[in-house]
Symmetry: C2
Subunit: 202 residues, 2 copies
DNA sequence: GTCTATATCCAGATAGAC
DNA sequence: GTCTATCTGGATATAGAC
């Protein structure tokens, strides 16, 4: 019966989405170890037993989310790189959209916090570590490339491009953390301050 | 016998130091929840049972360390504020010493990571939360004050001082995290890049 | 003060009924 | 597919011997 099979698949997908969403919120706010499988089940609105029909462990969910987090981030970076605007606009626009996403408190912010937790803690699954090891470099490289192009055009400061790329992303991570401490009253700072690290004044 | 009492006190102090040092390293690398009391005892070189003669729980150790972390940080900020140099030098010197401390990988770096973990995770003891709530503001306020003084003297940019203070510290937190991901090959970025957010070019 | 042994508890994971 | 009940293991904390 292909009808049932199809429906089951759909249910399965929906359940997985529920679980992932609930887990993301919990992992983003507590990290891996402090998040209990019971909480995930509760927040997902399903029983604990059922959870194991979709994921075989907490770690698997975590790793799955880390993978998605980097896919999204790296995708956004590639999109940014391919925009048809001059380099200095890319740098500004990229930071602008990240700050906006942080501010509106949707799952984008949670993905950033998830990455923060995953980066900060030694105690994560080896699979997740491998993903970080491999994917974490991508955003740095892309921003660095954009910065170099801007330097050629004379719109980006002549500091070491690698250093600037590091500061670009550490600032983002720092702001994501800052938001974690002040969840409700987070106001993104004036972007021009940040831009003065990279852009030559006009 | 006052002799024995004195010696016991000394032993007790030393043990406490051992425990705190071991815990700091573990908490800095794994966070509260993933750090097991067994690991702490092992790393301290004492038995698990003995640990409970010095601290009544993991949470107590954690809270104790968070308290110390902020005491140190706030002390350093006050020291910085009272230096007899112009504001823009304070801003630069403060950031310089933090980056140095991060790079040489001593316990200073671990205290920063501890604060990062504590800030990032919802799942920490209420006492620790209260400390963060209360003490976290101090460094921001001091840097803001220094920045305002610099603005009066015309050496600091005229951006919103609160925003700049936020960025000062989020950059530090971000860099501490960045170091956590690349423990061995961390090279502090060119400080002039950071300073261009705050200092008027000369 | 310090250890080993043990009790308690809770989280993770499984089994089996519906 | 979903639940409740249960098993198992590990982590926290205590007890008691030295």
């Amino acid at each position: 019966m292909p009808r049932n099979k199809e429906l089951n698949e759909k249910i399965k997908d929906e359940r997985r989405e529920q679980i992932l969403l609930a887990s993301l919120e919990l992992f983003a706010s507590k990290g891996l170890s402090a998040t209990k499988i019971t909480h995930i089940a509760q927040k997902s609105g399903i029983s604990q037993g059922l959870l194991y029909h979709y994921y075989s462990s907490k770690e698997e969910i975590f790793t799955d989310l880390v993978k998605t987090a980097f896919e999204r981030l790296n995708m956004a970076c590639k999109y940014l790189y391919n925009l048809d605007v001059p380099p200095q606009k890319k740098i500004r626009y990229g930071m602008e959209s990240i700050l906006e996403n942080l501010a509106v408190s949707d799952s984008s912010a949670n993905y950033h916090l998830l990455i923060a937790h995953a980066s900060l803690s030694e105690d994560i699954p080896v699979e997740a570590k491998a993903i970080i090891q491999k994917e974490n470099q991508v955003p740095y490289d892309i921003i660095e490339k954009i910065l170099r192009e801007g330097q050629k055009e004379g719109t980006i400061k002549k500091h070491d491009a690698k250093d600037m790329a590091v500061l670009y992303w550490t600032t983002v991570k720092g702001l994501a953390m800052h938001k974690a401490v002040h969840p409700r009253k987070f106001v993104p700072p004036d972007i021009n301050i940040l831009m003065s690290m990279f852009l030559i004044d006009q």
